[in-house]
């Protein structure tokens, strides 16, 4: 039964109190803003423990089935938890791929065994997940993936390599897209989708250095790696279809995620605060006419994103194009954060030239890093240019390129 508005408010209060008592202390090291930025063991273990704590208190996977480790409650409760975590700006839930993409996929398409095996450790962060879609030569053209999987008895033998594997060195499992039939009628039909162990013999990872100068993601190599055949999701050859379902979870176009927030995005209130503290022409930047106009535009866009999320839940107000908001939200959000983080640099006067770790910089260089890091969202999960194709074709009905 759905909780009443009074029950929801009561729950909100309960969770706020819990959060107040249990939120992590400030750390001496700078925390990453998303799972794609984790670059050190201390960051990783701190965030893993935090997710575990939230799960054990009963506030994660609240709407997932109880039999697999969820709590079998209303999604509305989980939404409150997510909202309040964002409002309190507590650290994000590190097992992002497990909670938001792999988990919902397993619940939707996985076998009973897979659900029993994988769901609970996703929630508790005991088992971290990573994603093996992109390859060095196949990014936006995902369907052209060439990593090869050949069936041998109870196993598939995998050869090839995947790239941009965030958390690859910590992960226990990977969602893997590999080619099982190179002779299929089309490139789409030759792919299969696996839940693949990272500790299998022949799987190795190498860290990649990012434009920020930091580490945090990897290239994963498969060298005659033997992975169990029962990790297959859907039938052999249906991998593209399964990958597309996964992407709808990744882009937030489908619901069913475990909950919790997956990034500590730069907040517009922090940008305003920065504008108060930065100087321009002898006065605070927030008093400067040009900066004010730009701030107002960003504040409007920030409000639009919040309102879009609310309007998306009102069927009568999305009936002309029901997929417009879900399919454009990744584009709108990621581009907004890229631009607003870039703007945050332009507020800083000559200090915008400082970088991470420089004491004289604003906020220890967090804006410089946030701007660079923002490209992970405008590129990862389908570039903004690919997103505009998707919106143009699947929302507006324009012809395929």
């Amino acid at each position: 039964m759905e909780p009443s508005p009074a029950e929801l408010e009561e729950f909100r209060l309960e969770f706020k109190n819990w959060l107040n008592d249990n939120k992590p202390e400030n750390t001496a090291f700078v925390l990453p803003q998303s799972f794609m930025e984790v670059g050190s063991d201390e960051q990783f273990y701190f965030l893993r423990d935090w997710q575990q704590k939230v799960y054990e208190a009963g506030y994660l996977g609240m709407a997932w089935p109880e039999e697999y480790g969820g709590r079998g409650k209303s999604q509305a409760l989980q939404d409150i938890v997510t909202q309040e975590m964002i409002a309190a700006d507590v650290p994000f839930m590190i097992n992002t791929i497990g909670l938001n993409w792999a988990g919902p996929l397993i619940l939707k398409m996985g076998t009973e065994e897979q659900k029993k095996k994988f769901i609970k450790p996703i929630l508790s962060a005991e088992e971290i997940w990573c994603q093996g879609f992109s390859e060095p030569d196949n990014g936006s053209d995902l369907a052209n993936a060439q990593t090869r999987a050949v069936k041998e008895g109870e196993h598939y033998v995998v050869n090839g390599s995947k790239i941009w594997t965030s958390l690859g060195s910590y992960a226990k499992h990977m969602i893997l897209l590999a080619r099982t039939n190179p002779d299929a009628n089309s490139k789409y039909e030759g792919l299969s989708f696996f839940l693949s162990p990272m500790d299998a013999e022949g799987v190795s990872t190498t860290p990649i250095r990012k434009l920020t100068g930091e580490y945090g993601f990897n290239q994963t190599f498969f060298d005659d790696a033997k992975i169990p055949a029962d990790g297959l999701v859907g039938a052999e050859g249906e991998g593209w279809k399964v990958a597309m379902v996964t992407l709808t979870f990744e882009r937030g176009a489908s619901g069913g995620q475990a909950g919790g927030h997956s990034a500590n995005a730069s907040r517009i209130a922090d940008v305003i605060e920065l504008a108060r503290n930065a100087r321009r022409n002898g006065k605070p930047a927030i008093k400067d006419a040009r900066m004010r106009e730009k701030l107002v535009r960003f504040l409007t866009e920030d409000r639009i994103m919040k309102l879009n999320a609310q309007r998306a839940k009102i069927p009568e107000l999305v009936k002309d194009r029901p997929m417009a908001l879900p399919l454009s939200s990744k584009l709108v959000r990621s581009e907004f954060y890229r631009r607003v983080n870039q703007f945050a640099l332009s507020l800083q006067g000559n200090r915008s030239g400082y970088y991470v770790g420089e004491e004289a910089s604003f906020d220890n260089g967090k804006w410089q890093r946030a701007y660079f890091q923002a490209f992970s969202a405008t590129i990862g999960g389908g570039t903004s240019q690919i997103q505009r194709n998707i919106v143009g074709e699947r929302v507006l009905g324009l012809p395929k390129d």
Binding site: A87, A269, I272, A275, I286, K287, A289, R292, E293, L295, V296, R297, L299, T300, E301, R303, I304, K306, L307, N308, Q310, R311, I314, E316, L317, D320, R321, A324, L325, S328, L331, V332, Q385, Q387, R388, N389, V391, G392, E393, V395, L396, G397, L398, P399, K400, D401
Partner: protein, 376 residues
């Protein structure tokens, strides 16, 4: 800083949207809109009668004055649907006029006039002047009170549907504050009225010379604090315009998409080219954002502390966005877009007109700076 914003949609609004979408699509096909362009009165009397029969003019007028007793927010879906179909009606003046009387009229005046608004009498609102200022408190026209009489002077511009109107609301300075005069149309000699050439041919707009017009003192509407009432009137107009613009943005986007899906060049539909597809995707996200702002503004319109931010965000956003969508529609129609026959120009003219009324995007952003960031 506030981080949560309301957006709700009532059953009344849902019903209104459904009814209005069907009605406007039926009564205002593009051929019909084009037929009206050259006529003296752009709107069609029969259609207006049907609109009156639906009760839309009195939608936000309390029942005791003959209205439906709903909220202004309930008129938003109607104006959105009208905007979507470029429907030509005197509805905006009628709604705005009723709101002015609600705000500034005495009980007697409300009893006398509001029922007439509800029965569909045409209302013209004359608040702007030749100084070009959007500030409604900057009116220079005057009313001189002499005993029971008020003699008017000055010139008003952009008075909607004045030739056809039965009632005219004119803003004038009286004793250093802006008040309204409610004129009966027959109190205005024909030579006081001059039609203006305006960019949006679906509308009719007039210049009104006030000298030698004398009215009774009880025709002054001056209840409430003048400054805050005039601000409120600006916000009402912007909510209504915002709804119309949002509908127009959606329609011009559809028009462009249809063309991109039928026109072929180099052996393929031109919508397949990313040079056209990608800007259309951005026009869509602008539209979706505008629509969220519209129903947010409608939701909070009765909450004084939220209204102004929400409405100014709406008008500033859709002002730019609608012009951009219409501008690109002309461009993406290629040489056909350069012709009068292409409907893109009708939307571009509408977008530019709406931007010119009650403050453009920059005007509202400037006001937002103060609201959101404090004094400069």
């Amino acid at each position: 800083m506030k981080t949560e914003f309301d957006l709700a949609f009532s059953e009344e609004q849902a019903l209104m949207l459904e009814t209005a979408e069907a009605f406007c699509a039926d009564k205002s096909p593009m051929e019909f809109v084009r037929e009206q362009l050259g006529k003296p009165a752009a709107f069609d009397r029969e259609v207006w009668q049907e609109i009156t029969d639906l009760g839309w003019p009195g939608i936000a007028v309390p029942e005791q004055y003959g209205g439906a007793g709903l909220r202004l927010a309930d008129a938003v879906p109607v104006l959105e649907a009208m905007g979507r179909n470029l429907m030509i009606t005197p509805y905006m003046g009628s709604l705005l006029g009723a709101e002015i009387v609600k705000l500034r009229g005495s009980e007697e005046q409300k009893n006398a006039y509001l029922p007439r608004f509800c029965t569909g009498e045409i209302v013209s609102v004359a608040v702007f002047e030749e100084n070009g200022d959007w500030d409604l408190n900057a009116a220079e026209a005057k009313g001189r009170v002499d005993g029971d009489q008020v003699s008017l002077e000055g010139v008003k511009v952009f008075a909607n549907d004045l030739e056809e109107a039965a009632l005219v609301l004119v803003s004038v300075q009286i004793d250093g504050e802006v008040a309204f005069i409610l004129l009966n149309r027959e109190e205005i000699e024909p030579d006081r009225i001059e039609r203006e050439g305006i960019i949006d041919e679906t509308r009719r707009s007039y210049r009104l010379r006030l000298e030698k017009i004398t009215v009774r003192k009880d025709q002054i509407l001056s209840q409430g604090d003048a400054r805050s009432c005039m601000k409120q009137i600006e916000l009402i107009a912007c909510l209504l315009l915002g709804a119309e613009m949002c509908g127009g943005h959606g329609a011009v986007m559809d028009l462009t998409v249809e063309y991109l899906n039928t026109r072929q060049q180099f052996g393929r539909f031109i919508g397949a080219y990313q040079g056209l597809k990608h800007p259309m995707a951005d026009i869509l996200t602008d539209y979706e954002g505008g629509r969220s702002l519209l129903y947010h503004a409608a939701t909070v319109f009765d909450q004084e502390e939220e209204r102004e931010e929400a409405v100014r965000m709406l008008k500033s956003w859709v002002g730019d966005a609608f012009i951009h969508a219409a501008d690109r529609s002309v461009q993406f129609h290629g040489a056909f877009g350069f012709t009068y026959d292409c409907d893109a120009q009708l939307f571009l003219r509408r977008a530019l007109w709406c931007q010119s009324q009650y403050g453009d995007s920059d005007y509202h952003r400037e006001a937002l700076e103060e609201l959101l960031l404090g004094a400069a």
